[in-house]
Symmetry: C2
């Protein structure tokens, strides 16, 4: 898009600020600087944008905007909401940050070993500085990429991040935009890449003022969270550019290495150029300009390679996707519950298929979905698939938020970790799993709107009504629910947590150094599932070296016959 | 799909009929043969189907079905509704027809010269026999493919066809299934291919009993005609198979050469395999089995080559699509109104772009749509685009249904015809344009539901409220409105109709025989639009022969400077 019309407040570092707001149906758009009763009108520009170059705003100034003389509200492209979602927006000079990561180069995607974390509960401090303080620890663990759950401004101070309503503003309670810039700087200093989770499929329910400014939403499609964002209806260009520019902002102004785009199956877009493709094209242009590399990773629940195929093959060009199916098959194999979406998975056979084909459902009838589902992903390299034995959703969407630590034996936890790290896919850990953190990761919010808070509370109770035998769903609004979800770093000194950490360190080290394990080439992989004994034999070779991984998910010791001559094998782990 | 589960009644030609009905949520499905109070239960089979092999039905038997002991209704896959949409279904042995077209071979797509017709108003008889009687005339005109507007059973006897509610049943008042088979036979005898218009994006409002049998509809998407057909929600497999098998039925049992799929942009499907792709794959299998060739042509309002690109390029593999934009640009150039969707078109420059690029909007901002629209179609051959100077929609969606015959001079009508036939795209005529038929083609229905009829009547009036200066919108329910829309064959004897027909005959003959004009290769085409003089110079060459087409849309005589040496040119038309 026209660079002059990128939404937001752009201070020039001296005296003036250029304000750009998209409001295609407005007749009047007015700036309300904080602490002044004098307002200033913006001028209509092309494509539904309004602009104003003013010396009434500088970096640090706070302001609101009004449409057609209505009540003033924050800027939809606010870079900072120092007083939360309902307060004024603050001008920030993002490019003023003193970057020292000129020597940083993003890692090759196939080398990523990802660690998903939630800023509020990862550290005692619950902010970016708290993460930065733990970087030496993360480095010693061996991971080389952190994935930060969404940081776009949400209501209150406690939220997973999926209720964000200001995609351009970094959560004030986490440390705001400069706090995130400092964290990325520190990560790059430590040789760690940063993946940021962004939500382009819906807006949270509180503090969502977008509709006041323009047709950000459409009634054409329904999503689980209400009307869909308008990506292909009239006036969609401004909405599309709003998110495309948002993606570019993280790369350009925050040096984020990769985005994890939340639930892209809920981005309803029948345009000739899909929003994701447009983001990919814009990212390619930016990368050519800066010489830096950025990846686009999607959470995708469609088993449709169109999203991850290159554009020349008719795809949207995403670099990689999450594969929940590997998780589901793995957890069923480990003896987990078989209700809900787990009911589609039969354990060891589906786990074997996940190793072999990435997608478990690639055309078969899915009983849970009541339809045939997916297409084969045979030509996509392993580095396009991200796998895990738990993540924020799989833990937090349980009524009691239990991690595998409280569901499975230490030995089984170790097996789950190995199953992930020995796969030809990109492994991802969820914060604390490496020391078998016993605290849950619960669902929590801190809506300041009392009615909404009560609705969320009731909704959560209703969702788990069938599980009342297992206890009550913890109150998501209660600050204790958040507090209980924090990691207990002091456990690291104790057994069995210490031992588990050492195990993970060894496992990750092996993944990073073994010539077969470090590769995400899928060729040379074969797998045999033994349903009766609940065991799986994973064989991988790169033509030169070979490796057999014996996974015993049963409760008994099992003996295996190795392929070929036994004598040639050497136990490495 | 499993051939044993293809929906409908399948008489074995002897004593028994196999009945297959999809009703995945039913607990009981019951056959009600006409003239008997004794019912018979169907048996549940796999995938939500119910089956029954019975000697209570033979070819010619009439029946209804009831779900869970409710009121009996016709079969959703009825092959014939002899008493209309609310009456019983009748068993038909489609494969019993005595085909004599073994030597028929479909024409190459690039040779198609299409003639769109509406069965009810094309001939005085208003049925398939009426069309068959005119085949010698159509042959003498020079067209080689007729495109029949939808014939799926609709309420009453007067309808464009887009209110059909039994996709498998051929309209009783047109001659039913055997009437259509006889017409196709006669066409093939005459060397004419048959394209059938089918509607897979919605169902008509009256006699639509599908919802009683299963989740044919979804609330996920909205269409202009209410809830969308369920192509990607739970239980969609049965709905998808219902339409895929429908497409195959026309090819297999009616020897239809090509389908024209109505408004496929309204088929909302985010599955990994799009419905159209599934139809293409099934058609490929059928073609391999029978050795016959069938084309899939779509009406598409998205300017998205994904629909017409081959599957190996990530496309849906459709053979061709309608291009309304060529029509809009042409009509504006000819001096037509610039309201509504026409407002996006500027005349000669856009017409030049349509000749050059097929899509006028291939990424530009469209003021009428209030968004950027389309992608370039540079790599798609000309035979993938169907163009026209009028069609049933462009005529009939005008309040007074005027053809160009009553809007433009004879000379301009001739120019419009040449503009279409000299393009590198597949030309299509709308019935009667070749003799400048003055009768309108109006919007008409004959709903038997009085309330619905009144609603349509009011809706039509409201739609054209702004045009009251031009008169009243004719009453769509009035039989006279239908009657007024019939072609007047007697005019063919008179001037200027006779002259116009001779002109069209000459033009079509030239299109079919000139080495440059008969080609749909887009390479070698160049075009220059002269906005000031409202003229267009179209230059086409195949490397050997070359041709210049001078189009003067202005009211004055104009002189042209031909490219190269004037002397080398020879006037051919």
């Amino acid at each position: 898009m026209n660079k002059e019309l990128r939404p937001g407040a752009w201070p020039d570092g001296k005296e003036q600020t250029q304000l750009v707001v998209w409001a295609p149906l407005a007749n009047k758009l007015t700036l309300h600087p904080e602490g002044s009763t004098e307002t200033t009108a913006l001028q209509p520009a092309e494509q539904g944008y309004w602009t104003l170059t003013t010396n009434r705003l500088q970096a640090g100034s706070r302001y609101k905007l009004s449409v057609d003389d209505g009540q003033p509200f924050p800027d939809p492209a606010s870079r900072y909401q120092p007083e939360g979602v309902h307060g004024p927006s603050q001008v920030v000079q993002l490019e003023g940050f003193n970057w020292q990561d000129h020597n940083w180069q993003n890692l090759p995607l196939e080398d990523y070993i990802i660690y998903e974390l939630h800023t509020g509960t990862f550290s005692e401090e619950g902010n970016f500085a708290g993460i930065a303080a733990k970087l030496p620890y993360l480095k010693s663990l061996g991971i080389n990429a952190i994935e930060i759950m969404p940081v776009a401004q949400f209501p209150g101070g406690r939220n997973w991040g999926y209720d964000g309503v200001f995609p351009y503003a970094v959560q004030n309670t986490y440390g705001g935009p400069e706090g995130l810039q400092q964290l990325v700087q520190a990560c790059h200093d430590a040789g760690i890449a940063v993946i940021l989770d962004v939500v382009y499929n819906h807006m949270g329910p509180e503090g969502n003022y977008l509709g006041i400014y323009g047709p950000y939403f459409t009634e054409k499609y329904k999503t689980p969270w209400g009307n869909a964002l308008n990506f292909d209806d009239a006036y969609c260009d401004g909405v599309r550019d709003y998110f495309v520019e948002n993606a570019l902002m993280w790369f350009r102004d925050f040096h984020i290495d990769a985005l994890r785009l939340d639930a892209v199956h809920a981005i309803k877009d029948f345009s000739a150029v899909h929003l994701l493709q447009q983001i990919k094209q814009a990212t390619d242009v930016l990368m050519a300009e800066t010489g830096r590399t950025h990846f686009l990773i999607v959470e995708l629940d469609l088993n449709d390679t169109r999203f991850i195929n290159p554009q020349e093959k008719g795809g949207y060009g995403m670099d990689a996707q999450w594969v929940d199916e590997f998780h589901h098959a793995l957890r069923i194999t480990a003896g987990g519950e078989t209700t809900g979406y787990y009911s589609d998975f039969n354990g060891i056979e589906h786990l074997a298929k996940a190793y072999r084909d990435a997608y478990v459902y690639d055309g078969q009838y899915s009983p849970h979905r009541n339809k045939k589902f997916g297409i084969p992903a045979l030509d996509n390299p392993g580095k396009q698939f991200i796998v895990f034995s738990q993540n924020h959703d799989q833990v937090g969407n349980r009524m009691l938020g239990e991690r595998t630590s409280t569901l499975h034996s230490v030995e089984l936890q170790k097996l789950l970790a190995a199953a992930v790290l020995f796969s030809p896919y990109l492994p991802m850990l969820f914060m604390g799993e490496e020391w078998s953190e016993p605290n849950p990761f619960l669902y929590f919010v801190s809506h300041t709107d009392a009615e909404l808070a009560e609705a969320v509370r009731k909704g959560r109770k209703a969702e788990f009504a069938a599980f009342h035998a297992q206890g009550e769903a913890p109150d998501p609004v209660d600050a204790n629910t958040f507090q209980q979800s924090k990691l207990q770093w002091q456990l690291l000194e104790k057994t069995p947590h210490k031992t588990m950490l050492a195990y993970y360190q060894g496992l990750i080290q092996l993944r990073k150094t073994h010539p077969v394990l470090r590769s995400t080439v899928r060729k040379g992989l074969s797998v045999a599932g033994d349903k009766e004994r609940n065991c799986l034999v994973l064989f991988r070779t790169n033509g030169q070296d070979a490796l057999v991984c014996l996974m015993n998910f049963s409760q008994q010791a099992q003996s295996f016959k190795l392929p070929g001559e036994q004598a040639q094998y050497q136990k490495i782990f």
